[in-house]
């Protein structure tokens, strides 16, 4: 547990000293939101909550795939992964620590996108927005686990930057469907009980990706040395 916290803390401290990853994620999210406003703004009209929910999820997926996988890639670039693999932390614990770091970074970027969306889509800062934020955070748990695992799987391949989105996005489709529906309903004023079905799908995706990481991370980082 302490070793896990130490790895997570190391990533957070590195980020605090020079916020590379969160800045990159937030910038990509901002650009995605701007592009979506220009692309679809004229046809949104009455359905702004749906449009805002969709835009937030696009920002999450695009920035998350581009930036989230960096938590593993950065260790490879500096060959720090060797030290981590040699540390007394077991591979499941390493996965938890790394995906927790990805989760923190994605969450920061999501918080930023929510503020931007608040302005772009004229949303009210009320309970509905808080529920939407909770849905997004729930989606981020599974996505952080997924990009950490997939980032490690495709991390040593040629064309890594292309491969990680290709592997991660199709796997994330069920969470995306559930997340977009749940956030759109939540923004439209639905209570958590009314979107329970979608939250269950989202939770199952989180469970699958985290469980897959815990069970399979050993196989992925074995032979990194």
């Amino acid at each position: 547990m302490r070793a896990m916290a130490a790895v997570l803390l190391k990533d957070v401290v590195v980020e605090l000293r020079g916020p590379m990853t969160t800045t990159a994620l937030a910038t990509v999210s901002l650009l995605v939101l701007v592009v979506l406003v220009f692309a679809f703004g004229p046809v949104w009209g009455q359905s702004e909550p749906t449009a805002a929910a969709g835009a937030l999820w696009v920002a999450l997926v695009v920035s998350g795939t581009l930036g989230g996988g960096r938590v593993v890639a950065v260790e490879r670039e500096r060959r720090c992964i060797d030290a981590l693999v040699l540390s007394p932390l077991d591979r499941g614990g390493l996965f938890v620590a790394k995906s927790a770091a990805a989760f923190v970074f994605i969450l920061v970027a999501e918080g930023f996108s929510l503020i931007v969306a608040l302005l772009f889509f004229n949303l009210a800062a009320d309970a509905a927005l808080a529920r939407t934020a909770a849905v997004l955070a729930l989606g981020a748990v599974g996505f952080a686990g997924l990009v950490t695992l997939v980032g490690a799987v495709g991390g040593r391949a040629k064309g890594r930057d292309f491969l990680v989105p290709l592997l991660a996005v199709p796997l994330y489709v069920p969470a995306l469907i559930a997340g977009v529906k749940a956030s759109a309903d939540a923004l439209g004023g639905a209570r958590l009980g009314e979107i329970a079905l979608w939250l269950k799908v989202l939770l199952s995706c989180d469970a699958i990706f985290v469980a897959a990481g815990l069970l399979l991370f050993e196989q992925v980082v074995a032979g990194s040395e």
Binding site: R160, V169, L171
Partner: protein, 236 residues
């Protein structure tokens, strides 16, 4: 009988079955009452779909066995099944699209089965891209097996979520239930023969690909051995 001969025999049987299936599909089976000849594409579409799904199941199960036991043959089977599976899955999407144009009036619609099949196709294209990007050998095999397992765990949730997504959305088109009722016994017989023929094609392709991948692995092993011998003789 050697493996090579068995594969040749399977190839010959496949050819015979395919000719029989083609005859039954285009000559023996009667035209469907409402759809006409367009419906005949289903005699290939349905077997192709069954084989594509079976192929992806083989990839996942063989990958699991590879991680568990470590024999390269399991990985070769997984890789070969994924390759053939992507080909068959592409054909499922193409034949479905060809049928949908005259019957539904559109090449593509986000119907739940179409969407699920398309996501499945994307997942296994991803698998092939991963294998192509990683070097041959143990590492590619392990990463492929891991991804294959995650994809297999994901597929049920994809199917459920896509179905929920479509049933809650307004239906653009009528569901396909009842659109291919096989009223005639000759139609059922044709579908069965076609099923066996397409499965045989898959089995034959799988056997060929596994043999090729085995030969490649042996060649790599021999090349490594040769290199080691050369180095040793230089040192002496």
């Amino acid at each position: 009988m050697s493996k090579g001969n068995a594969t040749k025999l399977l190839g010959a049987a496949t050819l015979g079955l395919m000719v029989a299936a083609l005859f039954m599909v285009f000559v023996y089976a009667p035209a469907e009452a409402t759809q006409g000849d367009v419906q005949r594409i289903f005699y290939f579409h349905v077997p192709l779909a069954w084989v594509a799904f079976a192929a992806f199941a083989i990839t996942a199960v063989a990958g699991l066995f590879y991680l568990w036991l470590g024999y390269p043959v399991f990985d070769q089977l997984a890789y070969a099944a994924a390759e053939a599976g992507v080909v068959f899955c592409t054909l499922v999407l193409v034949t479905g699209s060809l049928w949908a144009r005259p019957i539904w009036g559109t090449w593509w619609t986000w119907d739940s089965r179409l969407t699920s099949t398309f996501i499945l196709w994307l997942l296994y294209v991803g698998y092939l891209a991963l294998r192509a990007a990683l070097a041959d050998g143990e590492q590619g095999a392990r990463m492929g097996a891991v991804f294959g397992l995650v994809a297999a765990a994901d597929v049920p949730v994809v199917v459920v979520s896509v179905r929920l997504w479509r049933t809650i959305h307004p239906a653009v088109l009528v569901t396909r239930e009842g659109s291919h009722g096989l009223a005639d016994a000759r139609m059922v017989a044709t579908l069965l023969v076609s099923m066996v023929a397409v499965t045989a094609v898959f089995g034959w392709l799988l056997a060929l690909r596994v043999a090729t991948l085995r030969a490649e692995a042996r060649l790599r092993g021999l090349a490594a051995e040769l290199l080691a011998l050369e180095r040793a003789s230089e040192e002496n």
